[in-house]
Symmetry: C2
Subunit: 183 residues, 2 copies
DNA sequence: GCCGTCATGTAAATAGTTACATGATTAA
DNA sequence: TTAATCATGTAACTATTTACATGACGGC
């Protein structure tokens, strides 16, 4: 079996839900996978083409009068098998998560402590906002998608986001105290 | 002033330390920035060339008899100014950290709970190993680089890594319990 | 004689974003 | 009339990794 990249598998995965067009996939991603997998149309449309070409999905052009044509993709048994095989494979390595704030902080001795304080305060603020977004999405799932077969798994990934973000916020607070001592 | 990418700034930053050749930069990165910024030779050498071209660093070819020539780069005042300016800029957005484990977990309903348990156990193991690596590096800095002007900042970034990794490990344990109930 | 370390570099492939192009409908 | 939503797509650019090529030294 051919190996695809993770973005292709992400799209195959979304095709197991109600979403079946490029546009719908993007919508779905922006609302739910956004915190750990994000892609642009520039990747979605060519990937869908490839998926269809390789027989992992079948295309159906749906025409609604007075609406642009919509290409609907439906997973074939081969497509579902390819997805399942990938899910079962253990990941080969945990990738390095690039962090621009840490990169700037690492070279912080070339800067005044006050500027470092600003950097950290700004970062903390963004993390707090992110945390609140997670909570909002979580509430949405709890209220509207409780019967959805995937709901439990969606909540797991959100819980991850919340826990890791909370740890990062606490680190900000702790580090801010340390840096302020240097002023 | 021209805008460079973060990788270029990372290299400029490393040039403020004792490291001044492509090879030394790679060594340094692998030992210290590795957990939040990783680059390959394929990026380092071309970037160093660009940095020199733009007058951000000067090159000095050091020849030791019976050794390959070494290109030593030294930051110019312009290079240092460029670095400082970048450090001071607030980051424009916190990027999405891609996570293959979360991606597989998100589509977990297409798989048996036992397989999900394996996925999480494997992930947890890798995170524990990572945590231990951070502790080792931390001890190294505390014992060997205490007088180093950058040591405090290096420890801050390690603390971040430890806290976030610990939160992820705890999430694994918590989620494993939940998934096991489904079996 | 082989392996690890020191040392520099390029070419090809892959991955991904951004900007652009198009065009219809609906609601304010 | 203007903005938002629906809908698809491509071209150019940027970023990055991987694989390859080269070669000397020192220790086992």
């Amino acid at each position: 079996m051919i190996a695809y990249n993770n973005t292709t598998y992400a799209i195959l995965g979304i095709l197991t839900t109600e979403c079946n067009s490029g546009y719908a996939i993007k919508q779905f991603m922006d609302r739910s996978l956004n915190h750990f997998w994000k892609i642009s149309y520039g990747q979605i449309y060519p990937t869908l083409k490839l998926i269809a070409q390789d027989g992992l999905a079948e295309v159906n052009v749906s025409s609604t009068p007075g609406r642009a044509d919509k290409n609907e993709y439906y997973l074939t048994p081969k497509g579902l098998a390819t997805l399942k095989e990938w899910i079962e494979q253990p990941i080969d390595q945990v990738p390095v998560e690039r962090n621009e704030v840490l990169l700037k902080l690492f070279f912080g001795s070339n800067q005044s402590p006050e500027k470092t304080v600003s950097l950290l305060q700004d970062y903390k603020q963004r993390l707090v906002t992110r945390y609140e977004t997670y909570e909002t999405i979580e509430q949405g799932i709890l209220h509207h998608d409780k019967e959805e077969k995937d709901a439990m798994y969606w909540l797991f990934t959100l819980d991850y986001g919340k826990r890791v973000t909370e740890a990062a916020i606490q680190w900000c607070e702790h580090t801010l105290k340390q840096v302020k001592k240097e002023e």
